[in-house]
Symmetry: C2
């Protein structure tokens, strides 16, 4: 079988290119054929140096510009639910939409990047295009994280733009996220003689009382307001239907503003659930929006001149936080409504795809300043 | 292979007989070999009419006495946990104990019944000895229930004594039991944007608050005080660790005094959890202790004259409730501490086994009133 191929990156319409990228299925762990097609397509452009690690493909210009922008997007998707191949349909408002797995998260962003990588032979900054694997699964598999560990120099730069869906607006930074198991304990007994035991599920009532009383903060960070949240995402307790449970575990998720450190976030949650056993199972800091950085300001001005929107905060944790850890300001900017990511009816107005391509092309392509 | 055999019922010591009954493993569903041995042993006594349904064996005298006592016990046990064959050991207090699966629940009671069935050729009342299968598993498999449906005449009588472990005391009747799923509902959302959802686990806090506020009643029934209880026996909620749950189910178990009907019990629980969806998953009425019945009074006097104890209430639901449904007063009386039933270190002081045999023998064998 010959390898799958992408259409010509230079001449193809970016919506057709998005459909083609979607139509090469690449569920997490199975990105190989798409990564091969991406690598093969990019290697035909002399202005790009192409690197590969696993199923992550990196292509970069080496024009000696004073500044370097990293444009990053993941190749993988969540599992296909009978929603491939893609279809173009007319939406209720008459708008053309591209339907299918990846249309939102995030093959539109990938297609925009592929086209600009091919066509921008002399961008105004040097650009590193990163197409990575395993974003939708466990953090330790994440291709961007792997490259950061193995080849940190591949990710050097002054600003990172992650093509995650933002409905074509700019979303700065992201909230951090902490998960913890809060444990109420007791003593088991037969439920016919419940007074001999000490019911851990009843004791967990106090954990829920505290969650109900909690008032999440709204925190201004660099001019964007991040809304926090503390939620139970799971609860479990009980051994048998005739036993008083001796353990009840409430799994909580704290989403915290990027101005808080991970240490501060953990201390806060421990204070809220003081008196209960608590173990942190997942903890990742957020990313400040970096809107005060000069290069970010330029990017925001150029993009909003085209799209007309204003930057907002990103609530969900995204890989911008990985760039924040490397000290690189990072924003999210891509086509598609994030609320439709992973949905069976995942779909994107095609105008958002062309709009993103136009905005990024105008910024990176315009006003080229030759090196030195 | 020749079928397993029990020792001679007439000449064997009742503790040795208990050990022999234990040493024929009979986990629920696998009672066949023991039922065969019981049937074969009982058929050799001319004063007994022996009947069989599945792995339930019924043996009865037909002396034409004015009253009939039903002595019932189950043949099955919960799974063996390396605790067979039985061993005799000396307890900390110097008392001899029989260790092994079934020593408590309830092969001591079975052995006592087998010995008395064989030796009491002319008991003071007619006696129906019932050895049944599948007590430890789902109610619909219960051998006593099956016989009640198929051969109700086999269970006709004026008093039933169930040989369940009571540490050799008399425990009258039993509490009823109701299980229900109490459901809190909400609306799902990504936990990064929790304010868009409505957290069902948080909503379940109110269910736990009501459980914590609940004060169970103590109810006097026929002179015995039944202690009630309302306990969460399980709780579950949560779809994924980044989702606001839209459902949380608390499984509650209400143990209610035998003076309440099942309808009253259900109405009570619905009132406690008013405002929540509630579905009853299991409901079985209790059994009044029947201590005002003349035959029960005689039984209690005779047994307590030997054992010295006073009757107490039975809190756990037992098959006495099946006799209560048939309109037959029923009590629990058998060797072994119920708290050790099903335990890996299940064990019974051998003195309790001989004590029960002595007390029942004195009652059933003494003061024989010839028929007519």
């Amino acid at each position: 079988m010959s390898p799958v191929q992408l259409p010509d990156l230079t001449t193809s319409d970016v919506v057709a290119l998005t459909a083609a990228v979607c139509d090469i299925p690449s569920v997490s762990g199975e990105e190989g054929p798409l990564a091969d097609a991406v690598e093969a397509a990019l290697r035909s452009y002399a202005h790009l140096e192409v690197l590969r690690d696993g199923d992550t493909v990196v292509a970069r210009t080496t024009l000696g510009r004073s500044r370097r922008v990293i444009m990053a997007g993941h190749l993988d998707t969540v599992p296909v639910q009978g929603n491939l191949p893609t279809e173009r349909r007319r939406g209720a408002d008459g708008q053309e939409e591209l339907w299918g797995r990846g249309a939102v998260d995030m093959k539109g962003g990938v297609a925009v990047a592929l086209q600009l990588a091919a066509t921008l032979g002399a961008p105004r900054t040097d650009v590193t295009w990163v197409f990575y694997d395993n974003e939708e699964v466990a953090a330790e598999l994440n291709g961007l994280g792997r490259v950061a560990r193995r080849h940190p120099d591949w990710l050097a730069g002054d600003l990172a733009v992650l093509g995650e869906p933002t409905s074509g607006g700019i979303e700065g930074g992201c909230n951090g996220t902490l998960r913890a198991d809060v444990r109420a304990t007791g003593r088991t007994a037969h439920s016919a003689r419940a007074w001999r035991g000490d019911n851990a599920v009843h004791a967990a009532g106090e954990i829920l009382t505290r969650l109900n009383a909690y008032r999440p903060a709204e925190v201004d960070v660099d001019g964007l307001v991040y809304r926090e949240g503390l939620s139970a995402v799971g609860i479990r307790g009980g051994i048998a239907t005739n036993m008083v449970p001796d353990e009840c575990v409430v799994t909580v998720n704290y989403r915290f503003a990027p101005s808080r450190s991970v240490q501060e976030a953990e201390a806060h949650v421990r204070e809220v659930f003081d008196g209960f056993e608590l173990s942190v199972t997942d903890l990742a800091g957020g990313a400040r929006p970096g809107l005060t950085d000069p290069l970010v300001t330029e990017f925001v001005s150029a993009v909003t001149a085209t799209t007309g929107g204003r930057p907002g905060p990103k609530y969900g944790w995204t890989d911008v936080a990985r760039f924040a850890e490397l000290g690189i300001p990072a924003v999210n900017f891509g086509p598609g409504d994030p609320a439709l990511a992973h949905a069976d009816d995942e779909r994107c107005p095609t105008e958002q795809i062309t709009g993103c391509a136009r905005a990024l092309g105008a910024w990176l392509g315009g006003d080229v300043q030759p090196a030195h």
